[in-house]
Structures are given as structure tokens and as C-alpha cells.
Symmetry: C2
Subunit: 179 residues, 2 copies
């Protein structure tokens, strides 16, 4: 079990990092985060050896919720399950600027911290695609990677341009995926 002060600092760092990443993207300066948390840089690096680790910790809770939704959608087997999944993940990946890039990169980078969660996200997407294909609500040549790519591209667009425009692109792409 960690020492009390360590635990306190860890929590503070996470809290501060969350708002920093949300407001300035995942490249927000770590030194500033440490300072904001009332802690020396070394302490931050003690808890999180690199920016990825910090991001990973930050995403843990968020991912829980997402995967829960995914499992629920798989259980429900509603017609709009895939679409709801796409919208949810898009919003998730747009939480911090730069996150979408990390996700597409992490998906096929075995060594990445986020690899596991990327794989799980893709797995859920694939299952939903398979189901939609079985129900003939989607073109048979649509692959899991396609929805993964779509979600991330849309998430990027949210951060770079407008959220509304990103949603429209998702609309068009989803329409194009229907038979």
C-alpha cells in the first residue's frame, strides 16, 4: 500500500492533469501540471514515468464506462446499436485533443500503453459490425477497422473543426455503409 503523501500527490496530479489535457490537449506541459498540483517535476515523473502512463491512468475510468456501454449494446442487440457505439466512441476519443491520434496509433502498436483498450474497442466494434451484417443493416464489405477509423477521424474533426461538422461526416459515412 502506498504512503499517504504519495497517494495524495497521485490523486492531485490526476485531477490537475485531467483539466490540463481537456483544456490544452494531451501535449499540455507536464511541468505546468506538476506546478499546478503543488508538486515538483520529479514527483510527477516518479508516479508517471512518461506522458503516456499519465494518459493511460486518466483513461482508465473513462474506458470502464465505455466498455460497459459496449457490452450493454452487444447484449441489447438493438438495430441502432452500431450507430450509438460510433457516436459514443467518437465523443470519447474527442475528450482530449490528440487522443484520437494516440488511439489510431496505439491500435496496431503492440508496445503502446493503450493497446489493450484499443483492441477491446475494436473488438466490440467488430462484433457490432458482424451483427449488423447478419441483420443486413450494413453493407457486407464494411469491416471493423472501417468504423474504428471513422470514429477517430470524426473525433479529430471535433477537436480541429466543429463538433456539428464531425457529426455530419459520421452521418454521411454511416449512410454510405448501409446496403
Amino acid at each position: 500500500m502506498p504512503r499517504a503523501d504519495a497517494q495524495r500527490n497521485y490523486d492531485r496530479l490526476l485531477t490537475v492533469a485531467e483539466t490540463a489535457f481537456r483544456e490544452h490537449g494531451i501535449d499540455a506541459p507536464l511541468e505546468r501540471i506538476a506546478r499546478s498540483a503543488g508538486v515538483a517535476v520529479g514527483t510527477l515523473y516518479g508516479h508517471f514515468p512518461n506522458r503516456r502512463t499519465l494518459l493511460g491512468a486518466l483513461l482508465r475510468e473513462r474506458n470502464e464506462a465505455l466498455f460497459e456501454l459496449g457490452d450493454r449494446l452487444l447484449a441489447e442487440s438493438a438495430d441502432d446499436a452500431l450507430e450509438r457505439w460510433v457516436r459514443a466512441v467518437t465523443e470519447h476519443a474527442a475528450a482530449y485533443q490528440g487522443l484520437a491520434a494516440e488511439l489510431v496509433g496505439g491500435a496496431d502498436d503492440e508496445a503502446s500503453e493503450l493497446h489493450a483498450s484499443c483492441v477491446r474497442m475494436m473488438r466490440i466494434g467488430e462484433d457490432l459490425v458482424a451483427r449488423a451484417r447478419a441483420a443486413a443493416t450494413i453493407r457486407p464489405d464494411v469491416r471493423g477497422e472501417d468504423v474504428f477509423a471513422l470514429m477517430n477521424a470524426a473525433a479529430w474533426l471535433r477537436g480541429a473543426g466543429s463538433a456539428a461538422e464531425a457529426d455530419r461526416i459520421v452521418d454521411f459515412a454511416l449512410a454510405g455503409m448501409r446496403p
Copy 2:
């Protein structure tokens, strides 16, 4: 008319910057570019007050070619004009990592260096969309902004993920835009 040495350095800087941006994205360190060009940092900043100016100069020739194609497509009035435009601009915006973000940002940032070229790109896109709508080869609710957003999102995906996947997304979105 510029002094001979100035001209020489200007050209060298552009050449070096081109490969630097192509290989490392538009955030490639300017100090390294200057060094590669055999020039001091101050000289680089003398020619290009900021990174944007350098990018702008680099894009000038490239843009010429693109706009020429756009005008040609508008003159031809072939059925696949819009699609060819989308593919061409996607490739253009994927020339350097980070360029797509600059373009979507510059489109509605009056002060941006690239604003003019963004506007022109959008204008061509809008004209092609209008024509496609008139020919009923596209859904009537598709707007010029939509194709602009699509192109940039796809360009981003090219840099972040795979080019093939980006093309597939474009395929789906274009399919979804048809009536």
C-alpha cells in the same frame, strides 16, 4: 530585387524545409532546418517571421497546381468531377502531417496566412457540389463545408493511420452523399 545571397538562402531554406516538413510534419524544428540549410537561425527568421509564413511559401506552388485542377474540373463538368476533387485535395492536405489541421483552422480564421487558399478551395468545392446537386448526383442537403471537412478528416487519417483506410472512409462518405 533581393540580394544574391539572400535569394540563395531563401531557396535553400525552402528546399530543406520541404523535406523536413514532409518527413517530420509541419512541427519539424526550425533550428534544425536552418542548420541543414547551412544558415543561422536568425537568417531563417529574417526570411520567414514564423512557421506559418514558411508553410505558406512552401504551399504556394503546390496550391497553384491544385487550383488549376479545380478550374479544369469545373470546366470539364464530368460526372466524377467532385469525387476527383475530393481525392486530389485529400492527397494535397496529407502532404505534411499537421497540414490538415492547419487548413481546417485557417478556413474560418480570417487572420491566417492560408485563409485565402482555404477559401478558394472551399469555393471550388462548393461550385462542384452545386453542380452535382443540379445533376442530381448528390443529396440536396450536402454542403460545401461537408466535403471540405471530409477531405481534411481523410487527410488526417492518412497521416495518422493508413492511406488505404482513409480512402475507404472517403468511399463510404461519398456513397452516403449520393441520393
